[in-house]
Amino acid sequence: MMAKLNDKPLLSARNLGKHYGQRLGCRDVNFDLYEGEVLAVVGESGSGKSTLLSLLATELPPTAGAVNYRMRDGETRNLFDLTEAERRFLLRTDWGFVRQDARDGLRMGVSAGGNVGERLMAVGGRHYGRIRDTASDWLNRVEIEPERIDDLPKSFSGGMRQRLQIARNLVTHPRLVFMDEPTSSLDVSVQARLLDLIRGLVSELGLAVIIVTHDLAVARLLSHRIMVMRQGRVIETGLTDQVLDDPREAYTQLLVSSVLAA
């Protein structure tokens, strides 16, 4: 369940914005994210949701605003004031990033076990046997048969690759995971299994997640809160089922009514 209510946000975006020259990426983004909270950012392509995710994950420098993050030692820092070494450490330990295309999130020339073990080594794991055991345990948790531990991800199906990406990201027990359209490259039948797996792990581990998706069904299944973006701005935000069942803005009503009821 949710963390206690009097705690401080894990991450706060304040007046965050990005212009590419004259062109607007996103602007005036403000929100707080707490531990254990899943926030879905929805909108069509070009709405600015991917730009926002890149800013939050410090892959892009902003042209305005700040992102304050509560570090493991309790201190809150603006992510854009971190040194490069501090930023890399955060990326390797406290954060995960599940990409739409598994080829961007995995090392395709390294075995499945290696993909998971690599993150452990990055945080100081040195004992080969223990790393292999932990990797095997995580493959099992994401429903990949442990016999496949020495196989390359190239030989995996799309759904297996996404599950391997999840294992690689979660093995270091991050507090915050970014997800960029994690299911959209998969067949519908495979999507359901992956969503179910993600949902179980997120609630079991109490992860904070920021997930970008154009799929409102994914947002409904996984997220507590939703932020609707259009033309670089956040136009509506709230409890997920409230925004989807009682959308207020014209654009959100259009998005919701465009989904075929299954």
């Binding site: 707490y34 507590h224 409890l239």
Partner: protein, 235 residues
């Protein structure tokens, strides 16, 4: 003096349909009533009067345009109309439950786990949660051979009864019942009436919508006629 668990003060709701040239549909206006522990208030009125919208506003599923919806959480009163999303989620976790006739199917989870899980989520300890789930499924005539299966393949009636079991397994002081007995047979309706009586004796505040007159007669302490809150369209 017992304190109200739910208090609505001057609650109004309208939908603006932007895709229909901004057409505005008023649903209810100036809804005010309160519910005490152990009391069951039934919302009455014809279909379309706004009964379901009122329940959904209390649960935070629909927005409330005007007024206050005060929900008691221990010593605190939370105004759902203005609360942060995570505050509303916390209320749903421990204070208020919502039971409709429709089951949102969770893939790959067995019926028994769904019902027991609802109990543990609300803070019921494990062995007790299992016992409670088994009792509810038995009372609601869900055959034992189905308990280990996910309800996706069940008949509509069986899914509905799993859903009721899930909704009643939790220990929450406020229960919102949105026609949970619709299309149930008489025997199962009687079971639901008995379970609602148990909840009332345990001190729950219940707000419900029931289309069956027999159920309404048996469980209601008070009927709130929602047509009283019809918005100015009549004026």
């Amino acid at each position: 003096m017992t304190q109200n668990l739910v208090t609505l003060e001057g609650v109004s709701k309208a939908f603006t349909l932007h895709l229909r040239d901004g057409m505005k549909i008023s649903v209810v206006d100036n809804v005010s009533f309160a519910v005490k522990p152990g009391e069951c208030v039934v919302l009455g009125g014809p279909s379309g009067a706004g009964k379901s919208s009122i329940l959904k506003m209390i649960y935070g599923n629909y927005r409330c345009d005007h007024g206050r919806i005060l929900v008691r959480d221990g010593d605190e009163q939370v105004d759902v109309a203005n609360a942060e999303p995570r505050r509303i989620l916390a209320l749903r976790g421990s204070v208020m439950g919502y039971v409709s006739q429709f089951l949102r199917v969770i893939p790959r989870v067995s019926s028994l786990d769904i019902v027991a899980g609802a109990a543990t989520d609300s803070g019921v300890p494990q062995p007790e949660a299992w016992a409670r789930a088994e009792r509810l499924l038995t009372l609601l005539n869900v055959p034992e051979r189905l308990w280990s299966l996910p309800p996706a393949t069940f008949s509509g009636g069986e899914q509905q009864r799993v859903n009721i079991a899930r909704g009643l397994a939790a220990d929450r002081p406020i229960l919102l019942l949105d026609e949970p007995t619709a299309s149930l047979d008489a025997a199962n309706r009687a079971v639901v009436v008995r379970l609602i009586e148990e909840k009332k004796r345990a001190g729950a505040a219940i707000i419900g919508i029931f289309h069956d007159d027999d159920v309404r007669e048996l469980v209601a302490d008070r009927i709130v006629d929602v047509t009283e809150f019809a918005s100015s369209k009549a004026a």
